[in-house]
Symmetry: C2
Subunit: 338 residues, 2 copies
DNA sequence: TTGAAAGCGCTAACAG
DNA sequence: CTGTTAGCGCTTTCAA
């Protein structure tokens, strides 16, 4: 590749002028003609600035990493797309990492930053990371932004409007006439799960209902955990006629378990899930969901991170635009009569 | 972070010695004691080599990119895991890109290399890229390795044993007693699809059967395309009693379409898919699949790329270890009697 | 056995 | 308006 020196030579100027022209240095005063020569030379030689040279000089790698617990869910694709778009919009590259590594190797993050490979991180917490471990991992580091979940003592996060999501899912069931509505939530320590449950509770209250422990399960978001939860809910007496599952992937497992237990969906029990993904249209029956703006979360998270890296103050963001949206398919219907 | 100069100073040696010690330079002869002092100093200061400095000096970024058409399928997770493991095993970082970009911006790849952001690419072809476009994209560039598919005129690829996969899926149905076996394949120009179809054909031949065009659909791997294909297959006369779907995601769509058409699985028609993913255990009925070693493909691909980058000759690899493996679930059974 | 020094490509402070 | 130059952190050649 062409170097800056070559451009400068060809344009008959010094490297510093070339550099400043190509970087659009605002307080560079140059006669248009020299400017044009530089631009032309750069184009002719197909110049692109060398990354390492710039990084070394600026001590900024212009790369950030997105660390997630699970890339095997289509939800991740949305997050990644948002993050990638925001990153490349600001001329940054995005690395993807899996959080098991990070958990196994406590100061991996700090080391990656130390090496100068990346300038910062967007981190999606893994559910098996304790609050304490998380806090110590992120400390008060401005170079780490938390995504989807947040912590009590630290600003710098982007989350969904989980309360609204939980409320919307529950209200849908309520609107269909359900009164015995169960919740398959996440594990206790997940703040996401707590917020979705709060939405569920609020919706119930607004309808003059109270939440009943017998209809609540908190086993986590995996298909298997939710399957187990669903099976046990069907044995409650009376059993619920509708179930809010706090995560699509869990709901997919729940569907299987319900059918294996011999119940019909939605005749015997309706199921609505929070989050939408393509597979939801291909379950049997197709799953009613609440679509959450996860792309936007990814997008905002890298915006926030990049902002912080250039000195903006810390803040916590709740993405509420677009708002959670109900996608009605066939897994929900009016309650049966038993 | 500590710099090499700081380490050198603390150890009372020159930077060059420090560098050579820390890089385990084989033809460096140093007395153990100096060596130890350097190592100790590095440990005390928690030294990690600065990335940009090294990259600039070596003109090697030690980063490679994995470019894929679709991150929204769990299959991608396997590929990524394999690629990541191989990359970090050789002290490289992995970037992830989506191929739409690459297609939209023809010389993105070359530019990324030019900038020195990455040393090379593992590229998974998108089906809507024509053979010609692909060839011109990768040319004979040693810094690009193709994954999952390959081209006629160029070495440097890692693919699955698709023929074996297609054969195994078909033999499974044959073994259950099916004689009218259909194929929902990929689009014509996909070499993956062609190989899987070849496996299908071979298995049929071995059983003394011939493939019939009326039982073959080549619409692509998406759930919707396969759904349409499945629906149309059910209207063939006579209809097939078993269907091999060349991709899990397609099969998930096919299942839906078949049920919507009112047919029972596997009583009326059995379905087996190539590739396995967690969702297959949660379809209804749970889907019988042929698990392919996609993690290994990712792994081998970056190995191959890294090898090529350090001068090894080009080659094409077919990953056949572990071999395709049948995962019997509930979507296949003996043919019904109609 | 070890050290000095050049130079990778870039930006920016400073000098003209 | 433009040029000179130092220096970011590293590796490696060459000399001692």
């Amino acid at each position: 590749m062409a170097t800056l020196a070559e451009i400068a030579e060809r344009a008959g100027v010094s490297v510093s002028v070339a550099s400043r022209v190509l970087n659009c240095d605002p307080n560079l005063r140059t006669r248009p003609e020299t400017r044009d020569r530089v631009v032309l030379a750069a184009k002719e030689l197909n110049y692109t600035a060398n990354y390492a040279g710039r990084a070394l000089r600026l001590s900024r790698s212009k790369a950030i990493a997105l660390i997630v617990p699970d890339v095997s869910t289509p939800l991740f694709a949305d997050l990644l797309a948002g993050a990638t778009d925001a990153a490349s919009g600001e001329d940054h590259t995005l690395l993807v990492g899996r959080s098991e590594r990070v958990v196994a190797d406590g100061d991996l993050l700090r080391r990656l930053i130390g090496e100068g490979r990346v300038d910062g991180f967007v981190l999606q917490r893994s559910d098996d990371l304790s609050d304490q471990a998380l806090e110590s991992l992120v400390a008060n580091d401005a170079r780490i932004v938390l995504v989807a979940s947040r912590t009590a003592h630290r600003k710098g996060s982007v989350v969904l409007d989980d309360v609204a999501g939980g409320r919307l899912a529950t209200e849908h069931l309520l609107g269909l006439g359900h009164r015995r509505i169960a919740l398959i939530g996440g594990v206790d320590r997940s703040d996401i799960a707590r917020r979705r449950e709060q939405g569920y509770t609020e919706a119930l209250h607004c309808a003059g209902l109270r939440k009943r422990d017998a209809w609540i399960r908190r086993l986590g978001y995996s298909p298997d955990a939710s399957a187990a939860a669903a099976a046990s809910l069907l044995e409650a007496s009376p059993p619920p006629t509708g179930i809010v599952v706090a995560n699509v992937n869990g709901a997919i497992g729940a569907l299987t378990a319900i059918r294996q237990a011999g119940a019909e969906i939605p005749e015997d029990v309706s199921v609505v899930a929070i989050h939408d993904q393509w597979m939801a249209a291909h379950t049997w029956p197709p799953l009613t969901t609440v679509k959450m703006p996860f792309y936007e979360v990814g997008f905002e998270a890298v915006r926030l991170l990049l902002g912080r890296l250039s000195g903006e103050p810390a803040k916590d963001i709740v993405v509420s635009d677009p708002p959670p949206q109900l996608v009605v398919r066939a897994s929900t219907g009016p309650p049966g009569n038993y």
